[in-house]
Structure formats: structure tokens, C-alpha cells
């Protein structure tokens, strides 16, 4: 292998390793503590669904199999569809039926309401739901039938 080529390839490799290290460093600290979720350090700012991924494993044991569940961050106490919270819940609650947030809207007939609501961060104020449990990242509600 000619010397020039060897130097060029080695320098190119070192350059890529340097930018890799820089990329990992700029995700921010802490650098050597065990992450709780798989998105803990994906960016310098907290990932949008980090609270959801912390909350759902705590709520999972409280939910019966095949229960219908809506997962969202309420806005002014009412349901609000957030794609990321919805799909994160589909992955985190494999034994339940995760349905969109509008299944917990105020104009939905009682029999069609989601059986459970996982409210991220903010309280949920629907009159047909009772609070079941509270966690640092949110609350679990059950429909009253």
C-alpha cells in the first residue's frame, strides 16, 4: 500500500473517530450513569416522550389484559392527540389495546370511552373517570361505569 494512500486512509479514519466522539460528547451529561429509558441521552434537551417511557412501565402492572387504554398529555384537563405518546404506548403496553386519545373525549358515549387513561404530566378532568394512581410523571384514571 503506497505511503500516501495509507496516510490518507488513516487520517480519514481518525477524522471519523474524532467526529464520532464529539457527537457522543455533545449529547450531554451525565456520561457514566445507568440510563433509565432508551432515550435518556439522545440529545442535550430531554426527549419529548421520556416521561412517557418512565411512566408506562410503572402503570403496566395495574392494567388488566385486553383493557382499552388512551395515553396522552392532557391540555387544560381534556384529551389531546399526540402521535408520539400514542405510539410509545402501543409499544409499552403490548397486552392492552391502545386507542387514540379521542376515545376519552367529553362527547364520547360512556360505553365507548377508553377503559383507562394514562395522563402524562398534567391532570385529566373528565367527569366519568376516577383517579387510580399517581406517579411523578403522570396519573392513571379508570372510567366509572
Amino acid at each position: 500500500m503506497p505511503r500516501v494512500e495509507r496516510v490518507v486512509v488513516t487520517v480519514a479514519t481518525l477524522l471519523m473517530i474524532a467526529v464520532l466522539a464529539q457527537r457522543l460528547y455533545t449529547r450531554g451529561g451525565p456520561y457514566f450513569t445507568r440510563p433509565v429509558t432508551i432515550v435518556d441521552r439522545v440529545g442535550p434537551r430531554p426527549y419529548e416522550i421520556e416521561p412517557t417511557l418512565r411512566l408506562l412501565p410503572q402503570i403496566r402492572p395495574l392494567l388488566p389484559r385486553n383493557a382499552s387504554v388512551a395515553c396522552f398529555q392532557p391540555v387544560k384537563g381534556v384529551q389531546a392527540y399526540q402521535m408520539d405518546n400514542f405510539f410509545a404506548a402501543v409499544g409499552q403496553l403490548p397486552y392492552q389495546k391502545v386507542i387514540p386519545s379521542f376515545a376519552a373525549a367529553t362527547d364520547v358515549p360512556l360505553e365507548n370511552l377508553a377503559q383507562y387513561v394514562v395522563a402524562i404530566k398534567e391532570p385529566f378532568t373528565h367527569p366519568s373517570y376516577d383517579l387510580v394512581a399517581t406517579f411523578p410523571q403522570g396519573r392513571l384514571y379508570k372510567v366509572r361505569r
Binding site: A12, M16, I17
Partner: protein, 420 residues
Amino acid sequence: MKDVLWLLAMLALPLFGSGVLRIPLVRNLDLPARVSLAFATGAVVLTTLMFAMSVVGIHWTRAAILIALVMVLAAARPALRGTAMPFARRPLALTLLTVITVLTLYGILDARETCGDLIYFWGPKGQQFYLSEKIDTEFLAWPHYSLMHPDYPPLIPEIYAWGSMAAHRFSWWGALLLTPIYLLATTFAFRGLVRQRLGDERASAYAVLLGALLAFGFARGMVAGAGEPPLILFEIIALTALTFHGHSREGIALAAIALTGVVATKVEGAAFAAILIFAFILTRRSIKAALAAALPAAAFLGAWILFASHYKLIDQYGRAGGKLNLAGLWPVLHWTTIQASYGVWWAPWIAVSAPLATTRRWRQAAMPLVVSGGLVASTIYFYLHGEDLSWWLLWIRTSAERVLLAPLACLLVASAASSE
């Protein structure tokens, strides 16, 4: 413990792919290259098997899949001998590869490279397929899950379901830890396939550069747990096989397997396969060999599209005939160019093309160069199907760094081919 079991199931994939060792070209490679190629082949074999079982209505039980594995092993009769550590005589290459692997492992285990797509659809799909023991078409067809791309090819969720069958649950960390495995498999497979033509020193140097490029690209593009690591593994094997061994039936056979993996992994794999076959015909003028390389991939893709159509799952494949919006040419070029800088002044492009600039044997590098250029052009073409500025900006911002990894890696193959 379940995460370990999940990963062990992944490490058993080479057993499913041991048939590839019957190809003399593969049999004569060093051990890590053979294991890597068997790993890639195993993913293709297992995907095809699980897809076929879903089509005919056989549930994915561990017993059924293990019986299939025993049959594969009996037919393949693999022999695992040969050099275990190909970089042993290259201390610099070995050191650099170790640093790359350690950094990637750190990025994965410290949750710095996780892809949102793993959380939003690859993971949920794999998990659901495991629970229903089949490709769950009811789950995929539910309108509220349509953003999960119901017609995306089945390789990743099926592989995830296989791991979950072994561990009795899906492993999110296991899916992430597949990234360094794909990274090393790509590096070892590439090194093994070019070593005969480039010699040990050059093959090692370019393989480590490929590893460094992909490790950075995976971290920057945030692809851990998503489709790009396996897609690039298959793409590199297919391109390298045709570039360095395209004159032989063995190279064609290997490319055919890898191309099947390409189209079974992601929708854009179909574009890669078409561009590679076009480039092969253009530079080698062998239509018969090109058809042989493309046939298994075309058969798999055709079967998958038929399956998806039957269950009314067509989504992304149906957009191929969409309207081109040339009004977006300038913003698409502008934002794609900005994203192509990877935030480091286009360093990856400079790093992989610098060796090409020193050797300048363009003819030898023609095929991977055409593929690289074709992939960039096809990316721009797909972006031009957007509707408005905000849509272009969002799509390019969220995907360009991932999608452009493939042409970058092809450019590196061109550099290696040019050095011969």
C-alpha cells in the same frame, strides 16, 4: 436475563445462514467474514421462512422454527474453521476498530443513539408479531396504526419477533445492541470480500474506515434499533460482491442473497436494488448475470407486495406513482445539502472520497460510483414528491442523514475499488 436471551437468539442467526458457506468464495474467507455473511444470510433465510409460514397459516412456534433450523443445518453442513482474528497482524487497524466498537457500545448503552422509529413502529410491530405468532395483518391494517407504515417489508419485525420468542418478551435494549453487531458484521464482511483483491493491509485499512464512517453515521443519524444498520449491511455485501466478484457465479449468488435482504428490510431497498442492477449492467454489460442477481429479490418483493395488497396494507409502495413537484427543487437541494454536511462540514464525504482522489482509477470504481450517484439522485427524486415547504423541511430534517449513509458507504467501496 431476558435481554441476554434475546441477544443470544440474534447471535444464532448465522446458523440459519450457514448454507452460504457452501459457496466456495465464502468458504475461503476468514472466520469473522464467514460468520458475518452467515449472519446476514441467516436474517434473510429466517425472514423468508417466517413470511412463508405467515402466508400459509403456520404459527411461529419455537418448535416449528427449530425444526426448520435443523433442516437448514443438515442441508448446509457448515464447517467453522480458519483465521479467527483477521486484524491480528494489523495492530493499528485492530486498535482503531476496537476504539470504534467501544465508542459505539458506549453510545448504545448510554442511550445516545436510539432511533424514535424503534419506539414508534419497529418495536411495537416486532412485539405484536411475536404475540400473535405471525405477521399480524389485523394490527397492521387498523387505521389508527397507519403511520406505522403497514406495508414496510417484514425483515426487522420478524427478526425482533424471533428474539422475543426466545426470551418470551421483546427487548428494547437488545434491539439497540444489534447496532454494534451490524456494524462489525458489515466491517468484517467487507474486509473479507475485498481482501483477496486488495491484499491484507489495504483491505483492513478500508474496512476500518468503513467501520468509522458507519459508527459516526449511526450516531449522528440516530439509527440504533431502526432499519439502516441491517439495510447497509446487506447493501455493502451486495455492492462489494458485484464490484469485486461480479465476474463469478459465486459473487452473483452472494449478491442475490444480499439483495433479497435489501428489499426485505426497507422500502428504499427496492430503489437500491434497481440502481445496483442498472449500474452492473451499465459497467459489466452482463444482463444474464444481472437478472440472476436480481431474481430472488424481485420474487421476494413481488410476494410481499401481493401479500400487502391482499390484506389492504399498501401505503409506501403505493406512493411510487405520486406527482413530482419540481417547484421544490431548490429547497430540496438546499436543505439536503445542509443535512448532508452531518454538522461537521461534510467531513464524511471528504473522508470517504479522499482515497479516491489519490488513486483516481475511475474505471475500476465506476459501478459503486454510479450506485452512489444514483442513490443521491433517487433521494432527491423521492423528496420532490412533497407537497409544501414545511413538509419538505420536516422530511429532509428527519431522514436525510440516515438515507445518505448508503451513498456515503458506496463511495467508500468506490475508493477501495479504485485502490486495487
